[in-house]
């Protein structure tokens, strides 16, 4: 654990990512304290430029709502949807991949065809159709993102399990009479945790991008202030009020970037042998 932290902290990009992430999480947690009022409530005249008035560092939008308040509340929504939908994807992908990899044979064939199917179809188009038809709500958005994101997890876990299954220590576990569930839980899964954590952290980033794209198209939950919605709402007044779309975009960018940097740092720190020597 200490060696892991040491390796992680030696990677400056990963540390920067982690710092940004901690800030975003802090904003998300403190949102009700920083901006106790609803971010939907108009508080000033519309199209107020950044810093034009004290207390509104990012100006106001087309309806006079505070952009900064929207950003801080949007952080909650983005993180929440990002994390929960990733958990959904992991809950589908990990068992499916583990079963396919450990069983082999026709079970593997069948499950992998199923995975391939979900990988072939245009995922964003499926997400749009799902959210539109099931009505845009927190639940349907999370479900749609989870449903289109699990195939890479299943493939990764299957590959890991497949290679571990033929590893000699797993064969040894069979010969010493350990039961199949015990072999899966004590010999195989502990050795797949590291790559699952890494892909999970990268997937939160992808999920945030997906959510923002959906709400940009107007498929966000109408009760939740989201960064993608803010960009979309400001796009008709781009020329005279650029800040309405600009700041939420930057927020998405920084959060996703931070997740990627931290995720890659995690990967290097968890697989010291695989990461290429940094000078």
């Amino acid at each position: 654990m200490i060696a892991f932290l040491k390796r992680f902290s030696r990677n400056p990009a990963a540390v920067v990512g982690l710092v940004i992430l901690v800030l975003v999480v802090a904003f998300a947690i403190l949102a009700p304290l920083l901006y106790p009022n609803s971010p939907w409530k108009p508080v000033q005249r519309p199209f107020l430029a950044p810093f034009a008035q004290a207390g509104f560092p990012m100006g106001t939008d087309t309806l006079g709502r505070d952009v900064a308040a929207g950003l801080v509340h949007g952080a909650r929504v983005s993180l929440q949807i990002g994390v929960v939908s990733t958990i959904v994807a992991l809950l589908i992908g990990v068992p499916l991949g583990a079963i396919a990899g450990y069983s082999g044979g026709w079970v593997d064939d069948l499950l992998m065809r199923f995975t391939e199917f979900f990988q072939t179809i245009p995922s964003f188009a499926l997400a749009i159709v799902m959210v539109a038809i099931l009505q845009p709500q927190l639940g349907s958005i999370i479900l749609a993102i989870g449903v289109v994101s699990w195939p890479p997890v299943a493939r990764l876990v299957r590959g890991e399990v497949l290679s571990l299954r033929s590893r000699e220590y797993v064969q040894a576990a069979i010969t010493i009479g350990q039961s199949t569930p015990r072999i899966i839980f004590s010999q195989i899964l502990p050795n797949t945790i590291a790559p699952i954590i890494v892909i999970g952290s990268l997937m939160v980033g992808t999920a945030i991008l997906l959510e923002s794209s959906l709400s940009f198209l107007g498929l966000g939950d109408p009760n939740l202030m989201s960064w993608g919605y803010m960009v979309g709402a400001g796009r008709t007044r781009l020329l005279d009020s650029w800040w309405i779309s600009f700041f939420p975009g930057i927020a998405i960018f920084l959060t996703v970037l931070a997740l990627n940097l931290a995720g890659e740092g995690l990967n290097d720190a968890l697989n010291p042998r695989l990461s290429r020597g940094r000078k």
């Binding site: 590893r167 000699e168 220590y169 040894a172 069979i174 010969t175 010493i176 039961s179 004590s186 050795n191």
Partner: protein, 540 residues
């Protein structure tokens, strides 16, 4: 005679900081005369491969020359720039590597890879390059060279690929051929052919050969002179007959003594011992289905029958693809055989379902090949050894007490119990693997190439341990191996397999003295070094 082709003077190669020693090799001085074969021998980690790579200027980035010079045909390799090195490689020295399966570019035709060598040195016209490539493939003894020249590497066998590598290395008629463990990945009969090819080409072209190997048998087969390396230090160097016949340095003596003799010791008397394990008419065919093409079949076991007495060791020997490992794994029911019966003690285990089989599993245990893959990296040694007894209901604490005893039995200290596999060497891990198998007090032990991944001196220790434990516990052992020397020393009887069938079976001494089947004769004839190591220690 003219001067040496290659002369290495006081070469020291530095390893990166935090390595287990400061230098890969230290103060090495070697010379090779034209047409001479110099074998550099040593165990893994001795730095022998680094010497070969440094001559070609192919050292890994982390390893840097710290002192000395390497004179190749009058040029100091260590002081050449990139262009100089590129000119020298291929022209002054050619090199072949250990892994023929990965040493050729998979998406390039064989002849194009040879032609490229001429192109890199701006030699000959287009047509001439092609003609020469074909001539080289013919000389390397490849069947139907016209067709093979147009083939891609995946269409060739391992031996054929190594022939292509040799043809390529000798394309520009360099004065020196560097061979880095070129036959280690090959079967013994293929190895014999490749060694003969290298020998023939050397005679015909007068090429000097720098041959890196860990195998004393190979050394005895081809060396004019021998250099022995121990942990980066050159401990002995001299004519082959001197070094092999009268080794001066203790390390050389130890290495030579560890090579198992090809003459089996006198057989044990086991006629009275009860049969504890038997297999009859075992069949297994691997089928690769494909949706539209024909199904491909590989027969891995066909009518395999043998039985094993208490205290007896049967060796299953054969080359890769002979089905010997499949038979070993079928006995463990790690692979399901298609037909045949497997009888363990009084029980026929071949018909049992998974759950019904589990109580019987403890009576037959396995030792695996790869000391690095056979232990779960996330579990302590104690956990690894006790998992078996715990699966049969023994309380963990009680099993731990027994595990300490077992660790001492296999020659490790009892306090290894709380440590993790990565803290141990290959030989030590193999001992842990044996302890794990013994923890269940089995009647039968299946050892699948259990010493093949080990250095020869460690191999000797593990073989002694296995024999010792067999004597104490009366184990019956099924010993799967490709190494006839090992089989000669440890097996009471051997079963020779080829393409899934048993071609010959009998008492080891009888089979070795008077092989009846052609294939057995071929195998025995191909063992490198033949009868060169007869002084080795008899059975303990």
């Amino acid at each position: 005679m003219t001067g040496p082709v290659l002369s290495i003077e006081g070469l020291t190669l530095a390893l990166p900081p935090l390595s287990d020693r400061p230098h890969a090799v230290e103060n090495i001085t070697l010379k090779i005369a034209p047409g001479e074969t110099l074998c550099v021998v040593g165990e893994s980690g001795s730095g022998k491969s680094m010497i070969a790579h440094s001559v070609m200027g192919l050292l890994p980035q982390a390893v840097t020359p710290a002192a000395g010079q390497i004179m190749l045909n009058g040029r100091d390799v260590l002081r050449l720039d990139q262009a100089g090195l590129q000119d020298l490689r291929g022209r002054e020295a050619g090199m072949i590597f250990q892994e023929p399966m990965t040493s050729l570019n998979p998406v390039m035709r064989v002849s194009d890879q040879i032609v490229e060598t001429f192109a890199a040195h701006n030699l000959h016209s287009r047509e001439e390059r092609k003609r020469r490539a074909l001539a080289l493939l013919t000389e390397a003894g490849l069947p139907d060279p016209e067709r093979l020249a147009r083939a891609y590497p995946h269409e060739l066998s391992g031996g054929q690929r190594q022939r292509v590598m040799i043809a390529m290395a000798l394309a520009l008629e360099p004065k020196l051929l560097i061979a880095d463990e070129p036959t280690t990945a090959l079967d013994v009969t293929t190895q014999a052919q490749i060694l003969r090819l290298i020998e023939n080409l050397r005679r015909r072209h007068g090429t000097a050969v720098l041959f890196i190997t860990h195998d004393m048998g190979v050394v005895a087969e081809i060396a004019d002179r021998i250099a022995v390396l121990e942990k980066g230090v050159l401990v002995e160097e001299g004519l082959a007959s001197e070094v092999l016949g009268a080794p001066k340095h203790p390390y050389t003596q130890k290495l030579l003594a560890a090579v198992p003799s090809l003459t089996p010791p006198a057989p044990k008397n086991l006629a009275a011992a009860p049969v504890v394990f038997s297999v009859s008419d075992l069949n297994k065919t691997y089928r690769k289905r494909s949706l539209f093409g024909p199904t491909r079949e590989v027969v891995a076991a066909d009518g395999i029958t043998f039985s094993l007495r208490r205290g007896e060791t049967i060796g299953i020997v054969g080359e890769s693809g002979s089905g010997k490992s499949t038979v070993g794994r079928c006995c463990m029911r790690l692979i399901e055989p298609e037909a045949g019966s497997i009888i363990l003690g009084e029980t026929e285990i071949s018909g049992l379902g998974k759950a019904a089989l589990r109580p019987h599993r403890k009576r037959i245990q396995m030792v695996f090949q790869d000391p690095f893959a056979c232990l779960n990296p996330r579990q302590t040694i104690g956990r690894i050894i006790t998992d078996g007894p715990v699966a049969y209901g023994v309380p963990r604490s009680e099993a731990m007490v027994r595990a300490r005893e077992l660790l001492e039995l296999v020659g490790l200290s009892a306090n290894a119990i709380d440590r993790y596999p990565h803290e141990f060497s290959g030989g030590q891990r193999q001992r842990v693997g044996i302890a794990r198998a013994l923890a269940l007090e089995p009647d039968v032990l299946v050892a699948d190439e259990a010493v093949s991944a080990l250095d020869v001196s460690v191999q000797a220790q593990i073989l002694r341990l296995i024999q010792d434990i067999q004597q104490r516990l009366g184990l019956a052992i099924l010993f799967v191996t490709h190494d006839l020397r090992v089989a000669a020393q440890i097996c009471d009887r051997i079963v020779v397999m080829s393409r899934g069938r048993i071609v010959e079976e009998g008492e080891t001494a009888a089979v070795f003295a008077n092989p009846r089947h052609d294939y057995t004769r071929q195998l025995l004839g191909a063992v490198p070094g033949g009868a060169a190591f007869e002084t080795a220690s008899p059975r303990a």
